[in-house]
């Protein structure tokens, strides 16, 4: 029974090879993997060179360039290694990924935004603290003057 099942499945595989290639991770080619591999080498080597060779004087410029390279490399991996396209699994793969990407952006951007403001306001000598000090100084320390 297991044998016939496997045969049927194999037959199905042979019949809709084209459809299967579009729906799963089955349309991999050697050319695709090699393209992705060489793009990844380039996109990895350049960021390491930027940091190890101190290419940019401004660290914030370097950071932005590094993030752009990372984003491009992630897309390269998604396309050439994970075979993402809008057709795989009838579009559900892409939909799940877009949903996740939205959640990731909200999580990261929200955390950094909130915590940055928290840090700024809690910093000793920060703008908020100074205001408080100025307000309190006449009441608290009248005698030295």
């Amino acid at each position: 029974m297991a044998g016939t099942h496997a045969e049927n499945a194999h037959g199905a595989h042979g019949h809709d090879d084209h459809g299967h290639g579009q729906s799963g991770a089955g349309h991999a080619t050697l050319g695709g993997y090699l393209t992705g591999f060489f793009l990844s080498i380039i996109l990895t080597a350049i960021p390491f060179w930027i940091v190890m060779g101190d290419v940019f004087r401004s660290t914030s410029t370097a950071a932005v360039v590094l993030l752009v390279f990372a984003a491009v490399q992630i897309v390269v991996h998604m396309v050439y290694f994970l075979h993402m396209n809008s057709k795989s699994e009838g579009g559900w793969n892409m939909l799940a990924m877009i949903f996740t990407a939205v959640l990731v952006v909200i999580t990261l951007a929200g955390s950094f935004w909130v915590m940055h403001h928290l840090n700024t306001n809690m910093m000793p000598g920060g703008a908020h603290d100074m205001q408080n000090m100025e307000g309190m100084r006449p009441a608290e320390t009248p005698e030295p003057r």
């Binding site: 990372a70 290694f81 994970l82 990261l108």
Partner: protein, 205 residues
């Protein structure tokens, strides 16, 4: 496609559909798992982004990180990705021996990655840069350690599948499992891009 199948072998249509759908369902379900895993890493990245500069007067990333080591580690993971891809191509050609060979090479690269990462951790802890030292180091070990743990379980899974392919051959079930592990392995490489950029390179700037 279904019209063709039902016309050709009408009485087997039911089996064809039942056999075909679970495979797609598995891959989509596994993709959904990977996306939820992605959220775990997003939270750990957010933690590191928030706490990564709180050194508590301890060592900073620029003091600790050895970028040459990280570059070698990145190369190991990238090479393991391409060798896994080659294994999948051999699997589609139904060649069991070469599939197992490339899976083995992938496992060796994965093990090299883990070994080098453990060496780095051991080195850091030996220097006193333990997870307890500062918020930066806590979040660093949590993020990079979680990724390393994923790679470790990927290696365990890889060895398990090599045994199964060795025993049962490239049957439908094993093909499906290999496809899932393929997605898992490439996903870990994608996460590593974020780690080496955000933690190591930007931490050394």
């Amino acid at each position: 496609m279904s019209a063709h199948a039902s016309a050709a072998i009408d009485d087997k249509t039911f089996y064809l559909r039942e056999e075909h759908h679970p495979e797609n369902g598995t891959l989509l379900g596994f993709w959904t798992y990977l996306m939820s895993d992605c959220l775990i890493f997003a939270v750990l990245f957010a933690c590191y982004g928030v706490l990564g500069r709180n050194y508590a007067a301890g060592p900073s990333g620029a003091d600790l990180f050895d970028l040459k080591l990280v570059a070698i580690n990145t190369a190991f993971l990238l090479l393991s990705s391409i060798t896994y891809g080659l294994a999948m191509l051999e699997m589609e050609k139904n060649r069991k021996g070469t599939t197992l060979f490339w899976l083995g090479v992938t496992g060796v690269f994965g093990a090299c990655f883990l070994g080098l990462e453990l060496y780095e951790f051991w080195h850091l802890i030996h220097e006193g840069a333990t997870p307890q030292r500062s918020a930066f180091l806590s979040s660093f070990f949590a993020l990079v350690g979680t990724h390393g743990l994923h790679v470790f379980f990927g290696c365990v899974w890889l060895i398990t599948l090599m045994v199964q392919v060795g025993q049962r051959g490239l049957i439908l079930e094993n093909r499906r499992r290999l496809m899932c592990l393929s997605m898992f392995w490439h996903f870990l490489d994608v996460v590593w891009i974020g780690v080496f950029t955000f933690v190591y390179l930007m931490g050394t700037l």
